[in-house]
Amino acid sequence: MTLTNEQVEHVALLARLGLSDEERERMREQLSSILDHIDQLRAADTSNVAPTAQVIPLAPALRDDVVAPSLTVEQVLANAPRTEGGFIKVRAILD
């Protein structure tokens, strides 16, 4: 399966990645070969295999509904490039 440039651009946009022409071509080849590999896997007969979301046979440990301390506002905002009045300040979101 060979991906088109448009498909690579679309996936790059979803991942918010800007690709040069050369990178896009390299990604196109690599992603195409990964999809070929997936196609090989899809050829296997799995009609008698239960769908598997995870291979580790564990049940999740559930947590009691108890409030634990949060970070301080200063800690929460420590990595934010811009803040204002305890908020994280970002470019205008166009809804």
């Binding site: 509904d65 994280i88 205008a92």
Partner: protein
């Protein structure tokens, strides 16, 4: 890409269309802590970014742990809606970038949701309707954005508060079984009532704890195929939902009547303009690149656990309404009004106590609906100074013939104003006990007859209405406390004497 098989019916004016509406409800689950971490879930009115930890901030290396109470609340919702609880369900990552989503993905449930295939009943204009429930799944809420602009430059920017990020949320997806905006409104009302009854959500739409998106399409009446559907968002009240749907149905009808086709798109309701507007297209479903959440193993639902959740679920409103009618002999509309809110239904049954005769039940219902509701609402009845026990005390005196209705009303007002005294104490203190003494009443009747010669003459002359003046005078002489039946009987006896004499 929209599916090419779902083309809109093109037609000329005159074709009869019906609306096909399905609702998606998002409801916050009433838990103390967040879905996957121990931060407080009470974000409302909290200072910004004070309920945030490395897990809901999406810092590297952290692991989510599922809040058991959230699973139980969502499971209870599934059971209340008659869904099957999936023995195995799982969480998935829904990937997209937005400033209120610090991880870059939302943990949700995609192809193996918690609950599947239920039903809800609702009543509209006295007619009972049923609508299918497709699924109920769990997810986490996003943060909140505020919009501001620089006063100097006028440049707009946004402020992000992550207190809400990670608050437990469930999505309840309904089948496209609704045929009018009014049905959609009644469906939502019934849905919120159920969530409030079983205590899993505040259902508060204005605070954003209960939200609704709608899918709307039109098709020619009699057609089984669906038209191209439009998703409506940004409806922030029950009224907005009905208005937005009514607008959208007419918008689509006008396009179809003009021979046009409906574009499959997302539109936002603009409350001020009273119309829906096309929204910037976000990702399509396959653009979210859902994949199983690697940090959470699939969730297995032990049947014993599910059974226990069902066992402690409160009686549902429809069941309780039917029981109020059958067990207590209440009229249908009284049973409906009393069960609209669980707080009122609880109050009614507490006030009734063990005295559950039909007569007493109707008396209690009347006093709550006619008298108590003049003072309290469904929201305040739980904190009313007139507790159910004190109302029961009042009705005991009334039903037992210790006081009459007029006095009962007076004592009712006193009960509100002196919260420490019960009805019997008020009656004793104020000397309001019923005068049931034959002699005292006969004396007062005699005085009333003597002092109202004109009324007596009028009555004996055939003006039966004049009798009321004599009853009034007697009652007044006895401070309004006399047994009305006794007054009437004695008055008739005395008047009969006058007639003979």
């Amino acid at each position: 890409m929209s599916s090419s098989t779902k083309t809109a019916p093109t037609s000329v004016a005159g074709t009869e269309y019906e609306a096909v509406i399905g609702l998606e409800v998002h409801a916050q689950l009433l838990t103390r802590s967040k879905m996957f971490c121990g931060c407080s879930a009470e974000y409302f009115a909290a200072p910004p970014n004070t309920h945030v930890c490395p897990v809901c901030l999406g810092l590297p290396g952290v692991l989510p742990t599922i809040n058991r109470a959230a699973v139980e609340a969502a499971t209870m919702t599934g059971l209340a809606l008659g869904c099957a609880i999936a023995p195995v369900n799982k969480f998935d990552r829904k990937n997209y970038f937005y400033p209120d989503l610090p991880k870059g993905y939302q943990i949700s449930q995609y192809d193996l949701p918690l609950a599947l295939g239920g039903e809800i009943t609702f009543t509209l204009a006295g007619v009972e309707h049923r609508a299918g429930i497709t699924r109920v799944h769990m997810e986490e809420d996003t943060g909140k954005n505020m919009h501001a602009s620089d006063p100097a430059t006028g440049e707009g920017y946004s402020l992000v508060d992550l207190n809400r990020a990670g608050v437990p949320l469930m999505e309840i997806v309904g089948e496209p079984d609704l045929r009018s905006p009014q049905e959609a409104g009644a469906y939502l009302t019934a849905m919120r009532q159920i969530l409030r009854y079983i205590g899993v959500s505040t259902g508060n739409m204005e605070e954003g704890a209960f939200r609704c998106d709608a899918n709307v399409s039109l098709r020619p009446v009699g057609s089984a195929a669906f038209g191209a559907k439009v998703e409506i968002k940004n409806m922030n009240s029950f009224r907005a939902v009905e208005r937005a749907l009514a607008y959208e149905v007419e918008r689509q009808r006008a396009i179809l009547d003009a021979g046009g086709t409906i574009a499959q798109e997302t539109r936002g309701w603009n409350e001020d303009q009273g119309r829906t507007l096309a929204q910037r297209t976000k990702e399509e479903a396959n653009d979210y690149r859902y994949f199983p959440e690697p940090d959470l193993p699939p969730l297995t639902m032990d049947p014993a656990w599910v059974g226990a959740i069902g066992a402690r679920m409160a009686e549902l409103p429809a069941t309780r309404r039917a029981r109020f009618a059958s067990q207590y002999g209440l009229r249908e509309d009284d049973a409906r009004t009393l069960t609209e809110s669980r707080a009122v239904a609880d109050y009614f049954e507490a006030a009734l106590g063990d005295s559950a005769t039909t007569e007493r039940a109707r008396l209690t219902a009347n006093w709550i609906l006619a008298t108590l509701f003049a003072r309290v609402s469904a929201e305040t009845i739980g904190t009313s100074p007139l507790t159910p026990g004190r109302l029961r005390g009042l009705l005991d005196l009334l039903e037992g013939g210790k006081i009459n209705r007029t006095v009962a009303q007076q004592v009712f007002d006193e009960l509100f104003d002196s919260p420490d005294e019960d009805a019997a104490a008020i009656v004793a203190r104020k000397g309001l006990g019923l005068v049931g003494d034959d002699g005292a009443i006969r004396g007062a009747v005699g005085q009333a007859i003597a002092a109202n010669a004109q009324a007596v003459a009028d009555f004996l002359g055939g003006k039966t209405a004049a009798r009321g003046r004599l009853v009034g005078a007697t009652m007044k002489a006895l401070g309004g406390r006399a047994d009305a039946a006794l007054v009437n009987r004695i008055l008739d006896e005395e008047l009969a004497k006058g007639r003979r004499g």
